[in-house]
Amino acid sequence: DVKVTQSSRYLVKRTGEKVFLECVQDMDHENMFWYRQDPGLGLRLIYFSYDVKMKEKGDIPEGYSVSREKKERFSLILESASTNQTSMYLCASNAGSNEKLFFGSGTQLSVL
């Protein structure tokens, strides 16, 4: 079975901390994505990567950065966490443009 694995299901961090969210896929997919999901706002794209070391901004990149050093791993970094970054974070991957997305189970991040 294909898999997208997110390193944590729940995380609690303090304001100002640097936060790393890790995502690994085992499908040799070219594309990887980070979304956040908030009640009433739906899923919003933060960043995506179409190749190793390549990235593109999504709709809400402010306050976030990403890293893709290996094809299977895509990290989301909150340089200085703020309370408005409390959210469910979802990682996804796909094989190419117009292909279906495979999602991880999500990380519920609380910033206090």
């Binding site: 997208v4 594309n31 994505f33 979304y35 009433g40 706002l41 739906g42 899923l43 919003r44 794209l45 995506f48 179409y50 593109e56 999504g58 709709d59 979802l90 996804a92 443009s97 117009n98 279906k100 997305l101 495979f102 999602f103 991880g104 189970s105 999500g106 519920q108």
Partner: protein
């Protein structure tokens, strides 16, 4: 501005009936449209993809239609079951941005026994 709209109110139906969910969009020229299912606390799971040149797509009890004139997709679940209770999301990407899938807010479906 670009919008993808799904009914934010929950849809409650009786077991055995057909559920119909709507996805409307504005200021997009999508090459395709996708539907996903999401259960509480989980990531979305892909269900169906329909391309702009397809009017209808079926998979078991699921049917999706895509009307690019009306800028609307309808998602049907026939012979609905309580296990179909979940949130259903539509997603689309513009022709020139195939990787940038944008999601609607989702509609919660509750199927009562």
């Amino acid at each position: 501005s670009q919008k993808i709209e799904q009914n934010s109110e929950a849809l409650n139906i009786q077991e055995g009936k057909t559920a119909t969910l709507t996805c409307n969009y504005t200021n997009y020229s999508p090459a395709y449209l996708q539907w996903y299912r999401q259960d509480p606390g989980r990531g979305p799971v892909f269900l169906l993809l329909i391309r702009e040149n397809e009017k209808e797509k079926r998979k078991e009890r699921l049917k999706v239609t895509f009307d690019t004139t009306l800028k609307q997709s309808l998602f049907h679940i026939t012979a609905s079951q309580p296990a179909d209770s979940a949130t259903y999301l539509c997603a689309l990407a513009n022709n020139n941005a195939g990787n940038m899938l944008t999601f609607g807010g989702g509609t919660r479906l509750m199927v009562k026994p």
